[in-house]
């Protein structure tokens, strides 16, 4: 029987990956909680020698792990779990779980499944799929509104199409808005002024 996996749990975002600790311990894993500075992560990984590193998928410190991966190229090195599972389905599922796992080369990714299951159960609620808008319908509707506003502006300013677009875009950008928002404002103003 394979030895118990030692997990280094990086806890550096608001997601509180550390909440996993108890659940993973109860599932029989040895868990080391790391909430120090991730700038020191390469040193920590070297001293703790974990089999698995778990980190919030959205943590900026993912890039520090990337350095660990490169520095340890000549030792059994941590790699992103997707390496063995070059299957977009598995990768999508792992990303959905909200934590990224780096496992030491040679450990079969299957052994990670219970860990990912625990993470998934913990974080599923954080990862509610955004409702997919009917992008194409919405986009066609937006285009019509932008065209309408552009026409109004050309009339008002007595300018050509390119100038009208430039005016609208410049206004939108300096107000930190999207083009469609400025288009709606022009239409509303035009209706008001009749």
């Amino acid at each position: 029987m394979a030895a118990m996996l030692r997990i280094l749990l990086i806890n550096d975002t608001s997601k509180k990956v550390g909440r996993l600790r108890t659940a993973l311990s109860e599932a029989g894993f040895e868990v080391i909680d790391e909430s120090g500075l991730t700038i020191d992560l390469p040193t920590r990984v070297e001293s703790v020698r974990p089999d698995v590193v778990l980190i919030d998928t959205e943590s900026p410190s993912r890039d520090v792990m990337e350095q660990v991966v490169l520095v340890t190229r000549d030792q059994p090195r941590p790699i992103v779990m997707f390496t063995d599972e070059h299957d977009p389905g598995v990768m999508r599922q792992a990303i959905k779980s909200g934590v990224s796992a780096y496992i030491v080369e040679g450990i079969h990714a299957q052994r990670l499944q219970p860990i990912m299951d625990v993470a998934m159960a913990r974080f599923e609620s954080d990862q509610m799929l955004r409702s997919q808008l009917h992008a194409r319908d919405q986009q066609l509707a937006e285009r019509k509104r932008i065209e309408l506003a552009k026409g109004m502006l050309m009339k008002m300013k007595d300018c050509n199409e390119e100038d009208a677009y430039t005016l609208m875009r410049r206004q939108a950008m300096s107000k930190q808005q999207k083009l469609i928002q400025v288009a709606e404002q022009i239409i509303a103003m035009n209706e008001l002024l009749g």
């Binding site: 490169l70 992103v80 997707f82 937006e142 932008i146 065209e147 875009r169 083009l179």
Partner: protein, 397 residues
Amino acid sequence: MSDGLHMHSLAWVGGSDAPEKNALNIGYMPLTDCASMVVAATQGFGQPYGLTLNLRRQTSWAGINDKLLSGELDAAHSLYGMIYAIQLGISGAAATDMAILMGLNQNGQSINLSQPLKEAGVTSASALQQHAHQKGTKLTFAQTFPTGTHAMWLYYWLASQGIHPLQDVNSVIVPPPQMLAHLEAGRIDGFCVGEPWSAHAVEHGQGFTLTTSQAIWPDHPEKVLACTREFVEQNPNAARALVMSVLDASRFIEKSLENRRSTAQLLSCSEFLDAPLSSVEPRLLGEYCDGLGNRWHDAHSLRFHNNGATNFPYLSDGMWFLTQFRRWGLLREDPDYLAVTSQVQQTELYSAAATALNIPVPDTAIRSSRLLDGSVWNGADPAGYARSFTLHALNDH
């Protein structure tokens, strides 16, 4: 007139050139040089092609890697070298065929030193060289990704000053928005990063800008618009329409000073960079102050378009990163430089997109550049070039 454009757009959408996907998820890191993607997505530049660009802000380059490979992102603002690291399998992810669709920007990154170094009089390259070679001091420099552009600029510059970047100093990774905090806390002595984070540190009185990336290599390649090869092969029309949208936006940004200013305003808002306008705008306009009292208008500041010269995915640009990977031991053997870059750089797709927008395309995919140490890079002998440097970490030299 408006009907005319409308008809034209519909004809495009309905024809054989129609994008295979109408909505694309586009990843970016909150940096000033993501501007053309943000402008393209928010200001309707995809509309003529029936394309909606959904911007997805990311927190790490490693996250962009994963999401490009898993398909959660269709394309992303990426570090030039990083795409080659995925291609060659030297990062944490599996080797995967990648595609660079276009260059997003040139120039505009900086190397800063800390306030304590400034106060100790270490304000020039020669003073730094002396300081770095003193017994008992090992300075710590941060960059943003082990195979990224900032690592390569930092290494190149240090080496050009006689400082071995892998032996004479410590090298750590720090996410750009955290640079200032680490600098303030004295955990790092300097860093190489993209804007607005260098200007931001200077503005906060935390050190100074020692040199810029454009001083290392005027008009150097920097961020690219990248995706997997599979995405381009399955969605050639969407990929071309995406390039056209971003190209058109990059042209728009540089069309006038007013457009550049409003771009800075758009970027600074919390949804995108979440950084004060005062850190974003000056260097976006080419106005530099280094924190040592020097002010200048930089002739090679951040470029997004330059009539297409910024955007063409030169094979020689891609190869340069491979030569530096080789130089610093990230690649242990010479790859087939030209073959690898010819597959990754999507010169044909770019050329079709640029031509459709009346943007000139160069006659050759190789350009010649002179870097600050006088070395000339013209793509002719990449293996020889990689071995031509006094300081290196070649494993078999």
